[in-house]
Symmetry: C2
Subunit: 339 residues, 2 copies
């Protein structure tokens, strides 16, 4: 079968907020899979805030995207053609050749998913967003029952899992998000104890003091900026801060936490982390979160855009706060290529 | 014996840089020591940057100084009169009733010192400054032989011990200080590998990149501000930052590290700490550092002012960077009170 894949390339590096003309849709004929490879048709694509960092040319923990080259990212696809003994046509796999409709990938980088769990959960709670929540909350936060946990951007794909794992561990949870709709979901579905609408709070420190009068023991940071300052101010002695993301800093002039000295006064641990450095606990993560999902202990939300062409818009919407929960692109109804 | 002690009280809380009129010298008659107490005549007083924090009224890890009340701090004194079975007149002890010439203290809070070691070393390398260096470098930094360690304010009482412990542990050491005289001592006596004169460096990040082309694995922070930003910029993956002090922030409008996001990209640990939370390793510290001193592996410098009246000036000089090594006040030639 000859397949023409449609894939997004980086046309230009964004300055500040990305825009749709940073991307271009390109058609490429795919070779037939070699031995040990499979051809997959993507069903779901992931867009994630960390991709913004890869759009700058700077070296980082993960190579930058190159201009004129295809973007990539997490995706769920169905095997169409296989030259691998372990995967067969019809198998649904998670892999990393996103931002496109068809891809030839090494079978070793494609993992069959549990058919009892919705496919796209493998881009959210069972994907890298969930893994980030799992590592940050459990390995860095080390929550004890009865402690208070503050999670920023708590309705997002990472934050929403962090708050629910914190509840499973017996913590009191304070969550911030940017709309009443998100806060309602956090209270009613995710079971958090107190919420802050950061867009209406004004003084974040005062809002956090009100929401957590007993102080906070763990801060799961997805935002940076004034959220991080408020958390330093509200922290109890020996608080642990899992620094996962700082979406406030990605597109604007960065600012540092002016009260960083609180880290000394209160013996605070701040630990930055990257999921890919923690792969030794991936199996534990998959086992625990799959069980929590099957037991109904973990809920998640997703914002779905339809069709490959909407992928850049889905990505841009992340920075406008338009998604609730995991932002995914559904390709299942796209016209099928091949001949 | 009736003794009239001369002691410094806090007259007013400093705004910004402390000034001499924040202090007043007051005379007070001391009661005779009760059972379990001793009367000590102080021989040496310590002044330390952390005392600035206690002069604000804010609650912290250690109670604030109160207006109209005596200041205190580390001191070395000789027992003049004892109502305790463990201490005898003539014993030299370290204790915490500083900023005065005479004091009645509980014997349980006074510790006899090793007569083979200079008395005032118990205010520096064997006192809390040395303890801070020991904890920050070893417990947080966890140095491995061959790693690169950056220490700011490295000629100070904390920094100078941190650099030497790092050398004992086989590390390459980069030290910053504010004068060529300090840097010369660091190179020639403390054995550091590269130095930065932060007053002349201009761009601290560029200076640190030049001094540590291989990046840094440990940062021992006594300064904050642009030093902390430079360290975040130069950090290698999995670097450990021991946050001990931020003298840049004590007297001016604080600013945060604008590149704090580097902590995520490079999985950096930042750990603030307070000596008094780590007393479980005090005995290890005393044993190790006393041995290093007796073996000639640890050198230290001190800046000595003479006479009780000079105590506020000694304290103020800390913030003007006038001291080299530990700032102490020598009371041995002061007129002796009592009747």
């Amino acid at each position: 079968m000859t397949v023409v894949a449609r894939q997004f390339h980086l046309r230009a590096r964004p300055e500040g907020l990305p825009a749709s003309d940073n991307f271009e849709l390109v058609e490429r004929s795919l070779p037939a899979p070699h031995s040990g490879q499979v051809l997959v048709r993507n069903l779901w694509l992931s867009v994630d805030p960390y991709m913004r960092g890869r759009m700058t040319g700077r070296e980082s923990y993960i190579p930058p995207f190159e201009i004129g080259e295809p973007l990539d990212g997490a995706a769920i696809g169905v095997v169409v053609e296989s030259d691998d003994t372990g995967l067969r046509p019809g198998d649904v796999v998670s892999h990393f050749a996103g931002w496109r409709d068809y891809a030839v990938v090494d079978a070793t980088s494609a993992t069959k998913i549990d058919p009892a769990i919705p496919e796209q959960a493998y881009l959210g709670p069972l994907g890298f967003p969930g893994f980030a929540a799992y590592i940050g909350l459990l390995r860095i936060g080390k929550p004890q029952s009865g402690e208070t946990v503050f999670v920023s951007a708590a309705a997002g794909s990472v934050g929403s899992l962090a708050v629910q794992i914190a509840k499973i561990k017996g913590c009191r949870v304070v969550a911030s998000a940017g709309s009443e709709e998100k806060l309602r979901w956090l209270r009613d579905e995710a079971g958090v104890d107190a919420t802050i609408n950061y867009k209406e709070a004004g003084d974040m420190s005062a809002a956090l003091d009100t929401a957590a009068p007993e102080g906070i023991d763990i801060y799961f940071d997805n935002v940076g900026g004034t959220h991080l300052e408020a958390a330093l101010s509200a922290a109890n002695d020996f608080a642990r801060f899992a620094l996962c993301g700082m979406i406030d800093q990605y597109n604007s002039e960065p600012s540092g936490p002016r009260n960083i000295y609180a880290a000394i006064e209160k013996s605070i641990l701040l630990q930055g982390f990257i999921t890919i450095h923690n792969m030794s606990v991936w199996e534990d993560f998959q086992r625990d979160v799959a069980r929590w999902i099957l037991d109904g202990e973990i809920k998640w939300q997703e914002t779905v855009l339809h069709g490959l062409e909407s992928t850049p818009a889905a990505f841009l919407d992340l920075f406008a706060g338009k998604n609730i929960g995991k932002m995914v692109v559904d390709l299942r109804d796209d016209p099928q290529g091949g001949s």
